[in-house]
Symmetry: C2
Subunit: 343 residues, 2 copies
């Protein structure tokens, strides 16, 4: 039972990855400061896998806490690093929060593992591509200047990781560039727990459908896309979680291409916002109250991923389609209404 | 007597800036961890200005130390942030050291000043231009992908500073992009104190001339430049120090262009390595033992700065030419031989 540290393991993607790791035969160990998640997610994970993962509450920005944790847990063979601040809009208003949290946690973790062999999987994002010149966008496409401090922290983290792997042979590192994670676990026991007004489409859709929000505004209906709304590559969070297990496995098999690699994690299919709404209405049987509003500053018009490299080299492929994304997100929203996990 | 915090104030550029600040009527306060400088520089500064600056020894990567220092010194009105790891070659071998030291110190300082008005001057570098497409290179030229972790920390620091100034109106920030700092104070009491084998041309020249090194190797004699050797914009460290005083003054006068700005600090004149050697031989009366060797990986072929913006807006212009750079560097090398400041 190889032990895998999952930072941010009570978060949206983290909690699903903890479940998939355990079911794949790993022992996940969670570190989270609970700044943007609930301790009650541990109960929910336990309900799914009938096992309560080891949990440590501390802030990865605390250098000495990270050092002593790593020192006291020498049998951890892999790290999946989710813990980070992740709201694009907030990052523009509070850039120092993002540079502090996202850089300090990453650098403290890497520093704590200096000299010790470690497999490291990092949460990156398709935001590094900006608006790609070619679609689908492959991993070899140029990385563009980030439009927000959040995006910048992801881009720079990739550079730090690549240079670290080049300089020190104890690190084997994979960055996964997520497209748009949505959906929830099939059990409806875990899912996204957005605090405040959701920044992303899916929780806004489900909150509107259940009556928490009055109306959904689609930002822009006059883009140069088939129906005028933005196009995204939505990826089911359970598929995304499985990509992390695949990445750990690839690193355990000594990734033959070298000590650093990067993979797109999406379905390879683009859906417009209007298509996503339609898929939600179909999957949930709910009519959604929405309107087309003005464009939103900084939005990418359309992006979807080339997933050939992930399929071939990572041995991973998305299995769940838009219907499962929508139906699981809706089941989770209904579960939360009956079982509020956040007060 | 406005108090100015000078981080890295016992270093090469820092110590000269402390002298110029004091002579311009400011009270410099030094913070340095002495990781790459000598405490005896304080004695040297005192010999020049007949005043011993307040000195605090701690590491700016220590978040709580920075917070309590800033809390205990509310009358500091400006910060000149030199403290950083600065060896390009070392940064490739130890990238985490560079990301850790250079990011943590900067972010801790900025965080400690959240909410309090502060004028902030940052040590940036012409490395952000890479090999410019046009010469002289102006501040509006595109920033190119950094070739080393060191260069990357300077580029990203500029982004952090710009975004911070945009988001929070208590910060007024200027980044100074230095060309190649050389020379020493006219008193020959302070100058560059390179530890180990010098990475830069000038200390290598003076150490060769004085007999510490057997021979100087010029890296590449077949470049597409007038004499085949690389071309640089050398700037006298005393002129450079004065640019920091000018930047603090501009910020005190509420820089009308906004809360973030960037200036080239050079002479605007390019000298080839062979011309620099010739100028040294002339200024010192010493014949230099040198040979032309192969090109060095990663070297920029030629770069010199457009200094119009600095002249017009910063009200600063280099006053010292190549002769003073060489003669002062030589006087300092001879002083060090008689008065070794580092064991």
């Amino acid at each position: 039972m190889r032990k895998i540290l999952v930072t941010g393991g009570t978060g949206f993607i983290g909690s699903h990855t903890v479940v998939e790791l355990y079911q794949a035969g790993y022992t996940p160990i969670i570190v989270d400061n609970l700044s943007n998640s609930s301790i009650r997610i541990l109960d929910q994970i336990e309900k799914i896998i009938n096992y309560r993962p080891e949990f440590h509450q501390f802030d990865l920005c605390d250098e000495s806490a990270v050092k002593s944790f790593v020192h006291n847990n020498p049998d951890i063979s892999g790290v999946i690093h989710f813990a980070a601040s992740k709201a694009v809009g907030e990052s523009v208003v509070k850039p120092l929060k993002y540079y502090h949290n996202n850089f300090f946690s990453l650098i403290n973790l890497l520093n704590a593992y200096q000299g010790a062999p470690v497999n490291f999987v990092f949460s990156s994002s398709c935001t590094v591509y900006g608006q790609p010149d070619e679609l689908p966008v492959s991993e070899s496409a140029p990385v563009k200047a980030a439009e927000s401090p959040y995006g910048n922290t992801k881009q720079i983290a990739e550079e730090i990781l690549q240079e670290t792997a080049q300089a020190h042979d104890n690190y084997q590192i994979i960055s996964l560039r997520y497209f748009n994670p949505v959906g929830a676990h099939a059990s409806a026991l875990i899912g996204e727990l957005p605090l405040g007004v959701p920044q992303n489409l899916l929780p806004f859709i489900t909150q509107t459908a259940i009556g928490k929000r009055e109306k959904l505004t689609v930002f822009g209906g006059d883009y140069d896309t088939p129906d005028g709304s933005c196009v995204r590559d939505y990826i089911h969070v359970v598929d995304l979680a499985k990509a992390h297990v695949a990445a750990i496995r690839l690193l355990e098999n000594k990734n033959p291409a070298g000590r650093y690699d990067v993979f797109n994690i999406g379905t390879g299919i683009g859906y417009s916002v209007l298509q996503a709404i339609e898929a939600f209405e179909k999957a949930s049987g709910q009519k959604l109250n929405y309107e087309i509003g003005p464009r939103r500053d900084g939005d990418i018009v359309q992006v979807w991923g080339d997933v050939n490299k992930s399929t071939e080299k990572l041995g991973w492929k998305a299995e769940l389609g838009i219907e499962e994304m929508m139906s699981s997100a809706w089941a989770w929203e209904k579960y939360m209404q009956e079982n509020p996990l956040v007060e």
